[in-house]
């Protein structure tokens, strides 16, 4: 059976590379000059996603075969990451074909790729038997409902972003928001070390004293072998602080420039509305100043330099591991991919908008995803309570995972009431959907990685 496990892990890794390939194909697609070409390229990129999805499905299925019927492939961190990614891809592909929305991959594929990448960097990929608390039929439904609803909300957030673009919302404002998020992500990745010492420390070595007294350096904390005490040492990446701080400062400057130097004459153009054609939306939204764009592009270049530096440093010392915090590393990769996507859109704004369906339709698709996902979110909460009642002796205990699932539920309740009762306009609703998506990601991953609680089965 271990052979099948190897094949499954190989398939999973191969599918993440296909998703990465799809990311690049999507980025190429939006760099095409006409909307027809964009759609054509995006369609081809979607075939890559299909191929990745097939391998992905095989990988998950194989894990289920290995684990037996009572152990579905979503019981630890590695599995929940790839199962969640699977759900996102499934809904993405549905959107691609049912709603003729291949371009969705531009936003969705980087997300899927980082989920798979986090999975690939998770040390424990074994199909281990379940501990008693997880031996319940509820594990099949409860977690499946979670994956379904969270994947639905994720795609809703991606489509909401496309809606903001197509609606002609000021590109400068979107760019400023994105730049600030990039600065936040960079700060998270640099962490305390960056701010207290000024150096970039995203690497580590592990020093182990063997039983015979020899001291060895390794990059793997997780490997069990005979040895005495183990010291994990954060390592400074040589020269990496230069591109790191440059990128940080440039994106911050770009955010300011996006806000202060945007073309004010666009404010005079009346809001073209939801049903406007791409041209009038583009006229309203295209307000980015040259200065902001140049700062942003320079930030992108130094960002690329940071990755080059990291790769170079890795070759410098075989004991250096970039997995000091794999989650922050993939966060950086995702930030970079999304930054590139935005930069490319800058240059091909009109053809990109033309390749999108109308704003009304995008709004409808995003809403439909939420309509689909919300009942499953309710099911997630109720089945979770039922399961907790039969396993832990209480149905609701305000454990951080439970609480964040409830917070997600509140967020989409706000969306639904805003929509049905207050008839908020699409821009506000899309922003709520995007904030909701951030909450979903935190409820799904952040809680396990940052907060602790009873749902610690997901920890690495």
């Amino acid at each position: 059976m271990s052979n099948l496990l190897d094949q499954s892990i190989f398939a999973m890794n191969a599918s993440s590379f296909l998703y990465l390939g799809a990311c690049f194909a999507f980025i190429i697609s939006i760099s095409r000059a006409s909307s027809e070409k964009i759609t054509k390229w995006a369609r081809w990129a979607s075939y890559l996603v299909w191929l990745g999805f097939a391998l992905h499905t095989f990988g998950l299925g194989a894990r289920w075969v290995i684990g037996g019927i009572g152990r579905p492939p979503w019981t630890n961190l590695y599995e929940s990451l790839i199962a969640f990614a699977w759900g996102v891809v499934a809904i993405q592909l549905y959107a691609v074909h049912k709603w003729k929305l291949p371009i969705l991959g531009v936003i969705a594929s980087p997300l899927v790729y980082i989920l798979m990448g986090m999975g690939a960097l998770t040390p424990n990929k074994l199909v281990e038997p379940l501990i008693p608390a997880l031996q319940s039929h509820w594990i099949k439904t409860h977690v499946l409902f979670g994956i379904t609803s969270y994947a639905g909300f994720t795609i809703a957030g991606c489509i909401a972003f496309l809606y903001l673009m197509r609606r002609g919302v000021s590109l400068s404002k979107i760019g400023a928001g994105l730049s600030l998020i990039l600065v936040l992500n960079l700060s998270l990745a640099g962490g305390n070390e960056a701010f207290s010492t000024g150096d970039f420390y995203m690497a580590k070595t592990v020093e182990r004293t063997l039983s015979d007294g020899r001291v060895v350096y390794t990059k793997d904390t997780y490997q069990h072998f005979e040895g005495g005490p183990m010291i994990t040492r954060m390592e400074k990446l040589p020269y990496a602080q230069i591109p790191f701080w440059l990128t940080w400062a440039l994106f911050l400057a770009a955010a300011a420039a996006f806000v202060w130097t945007r073309k004010k004459e666009n404010d005079a153009i009346p809001d073209p509305g939801e049903s406007a054609d791409a041209e009038s939306a583009a006229r309203k939204g295209h307000d980015v100043s040259k200065l902001a764009l140049r700062l942003y592009a320079a930030g992108l270049f130094t960002f690329a330099c940071l990755f080059a530096n990291v790769t170079w440093a890795k070759n410098l010392s075989p004991n250096l591991s970039l997995a000091s915090n794999p989650y922050l590393m993939v966060l950086l990769v995702m930030s970079f991919l999304l930054a590139v996507v935005y930069c490319v859109i800058q240059f091909r704004y009109l053809p990109f908008l033309k390749s999108l369906p109308s704003a009304t339709q995008l709004d409808e698709f995003s809403y439909k995803n939420i309509l689909f996902a919300f009942p499953f979110q309710s099911l997630l909460l109720v089945t979770g309570a039922v399961w907790a009642y039969s396993a832990w002796g209480r149905s609701w205990g305000w454990d951080p995972k439970e609480t964040w699932a409830l917070i997600t539920w509140f967020a989409y309740l706000i969306y639904l009431h805003g929509r049905l009762l207050f008839r908020w306009n699409g821009v506000v609703l899309s922003i709520v959907a995007i904030v909701g998506f951030v909450i979903v990601i935190f409820a799904f991953l952040g809680v396990n990685l940052v907060l602790s609680g009873l749902h610690s089965y997901g920890a690495a």
Binding site: P132, K368, Y389, S395, W398, I407
Partner: protein
């Protein structure tokens, strides 16, 4: 008097406003976050008082930040939400119910004309009226829709009406009422229920539990002489047997832990069940969950001693625990088992003994054993054991080295459970109904050879025009000549 009347009306209007709902929802969302970041009593193992600085701790205690979800501000929000839900429902419910059960009204020509164009279809039919009527009444039937009914039937004219999903109009009230049921259940549980735990050594019984959380009216009595939160169960609880099984290939990963649990009243067993982690025992509404287990650090050893001369007759059986001196009367010896190991470096179970000599008890207070010689190990080998020469003049065969565990039970009394499960079921039903079903009305009109088909939809209109076009095509094919 009038002033108070106005004041009450104003308050009621405020409470019934949907803007208030929105504000409460946002507040519930934002104020749920601190409790997941700040350490909570009952959830985290670390005491907030130890973790935080004095000033923050003082502030947190005042604001009840360390019991954030039971704090005055969070509970007040839920109370306000309940009032808001009640007020909203009372104000809007009758109107919505009327819309759901309203007698259909015949659509006039103007009403048809007012509909969005994509929802109205016209064609001509030369069939006679009676034939058309029976054809269409049949064709419009569907298990999801109400029975098609005639709203008008005159000489040259008739109108057929049917609808689907009309109850989705009030599904949101089902959701809101269900939420109130869930709150009610939670309140009942928190006033009357309790949560606690008991650790029972395998084979023994307890009649108390340690309570973590207790409602005002739980009716639990303090156990005399017990800890401050030790309460009487009112019956005895015996762990007849406890077993923990580990996976073969994953050392230290438990596969199952099972307690054979017995409820005893006046010494008479009245209920017995093997409980596992996902399968509790229920007695009198109190549920006993298998939560954990632990090592008592003690072993029970069964062994035989015999004269070390062939054939090994006159075996003497003995059963004892670690640290408890055992006499071996035939040989005027005394042994103490110092330690036992389940698996001595792959050689199986082993027990370390120490020979001792009882001091003559001339002085009662100083009657301590005196150590004789060095400690020695005895192994339990495969096939029922092996003997070993002891430093004394006899042999030992170890039959069984059993580690003693205690079973950790979580004990909960949750009288509100039926109420909040009822609410949860309603919540799910309502959510699915409200979001995935919409109220759709269909009208078929015939007048002087002209057919007209139109539909209206409440709330979520996506893709409805396609559904209507499909239906229209069916009717058209049926009636067009």
């Amino acid at each position: 008097m009038e002033m108070t009347g106005i004041w009450v009306d104003k308050l009621w209007d405020r409470l019934a406003s949907v803007k208030l709902t929105m504000v409460i929802l946002v507040a519930l969302l934002l104020l749920a976050i601190p409790g997941t970041v700040i350490l909570q009593y009952n959830i985290s193992n670390v005491d907030p008082g130890v973790q935080y600085g004095y000033n923050f701790w003082q502030f947190g205690k005042f604001m009840q930040l360390f019991t954030a979800y039971h704090s005055f501000w969070y509970v007040a929000l839920f109370a306000l939400l309940s009032l808001n839900l009640i007020a909203c429902s009372v104000n809007r419910w009758p109107q919505m119910l009327r819309l759901a059960v309203a007698k259909p009204v015949r659509w006039s020509l103007e009403t048809f004309n007012r509909q969005p164009k994509e929802l109205v279809h016209d064609w001509k039919s030369s069939k006679n009226k009676e034939e058309l009527q029976s054809l269409l009444l049949n064709a419009a039937q569907s298990p999801w829709a109400t029975r098609p009914q005639l709203l008008q039937d005159s000489e040259n004219e008739f109108q057929i009406f049917w609808q689907t999903g009309r109850w989705s109009r009030i599904a949101n009230y089902l959701v809101h009422t269900s939420l109130l049921f869930i709150f009610a259940g939670a309140i009942i549980s928190s006033l009357n229920g309790f949560e606690g735990a008991a650790n029972i050594p395998s084979g023994e019984a307890v009649d108390t539990l340690i309570v973590f959380k207790e409602g005002k009216w739980s009716g639990l009595k303090h156990a005399p002489g017990g800890l401050i939160n030790e309460k009487l169960l009112g019956f005895r609880l015996r762990a007849k047997d406890f077993r923990v099984k580990f996976y073969d290939n994953y050392p230290g990963r438990p596969e199952s832990f099972i307690t054979r649990l017995q409820v005893l009243k006046d010494g008479v067993p009245i209920k017995e069940k093997s409980i596992t982690v996902n399968d509790p025992l229920e007695y009198n509404g109190i549920r006993f969950y298998q939560a954990s287990y632990g090592r008592l650090g003690d072993f029970e050893i069964q062994m035989r001693v015999f004269k070390n001369v062939y054939p090994y007759r006159q075996q003497q059986f003995m059963k004892f625990r670690l640290g408890e001196p055992v006499d071996v009367p035939q040989y005027q010896d005394r042994l103490v088992a110092l330690q036992a190991i389940k698996d001595f470096q792959g050689l199986g179970p082993a027990v370390q003994f120490q020979r001792v000599k009882a001091k003559s008890s001339s002085s009662m207070t100083e009657a301590k054993d005196e150590v004789v010689g060095n400690p020695f190990w005895v192994f339990k080998r495969a096939q029922g054991g092996d003997f070993i020469n002891t430093p004394a003049d006899y042999g030992i065969i170890i039959d069984e080295v059993e580690e003693l565990f205690f079973t950790g039970l979580q004990i909960a009394y949750d009288p509100g459970a039926p109420v909040y499960w009822f609410g949860s079921f309603g919540l799910l039903l309502g959510t699915f109904y409200a979001l995935l079903v919409t109220h759709r009305k269909y009208y078929l009109n015939f007048k002087n050879g002209e057919m007209r088909f139109a539909a209206s939809i409440h709330r979520i209109p996506f893709g409805f025009e396609k559904t209507v076009a499909k239906k229209a095509a069916v009717f058209r094919q049926l009636t067009e000549t």
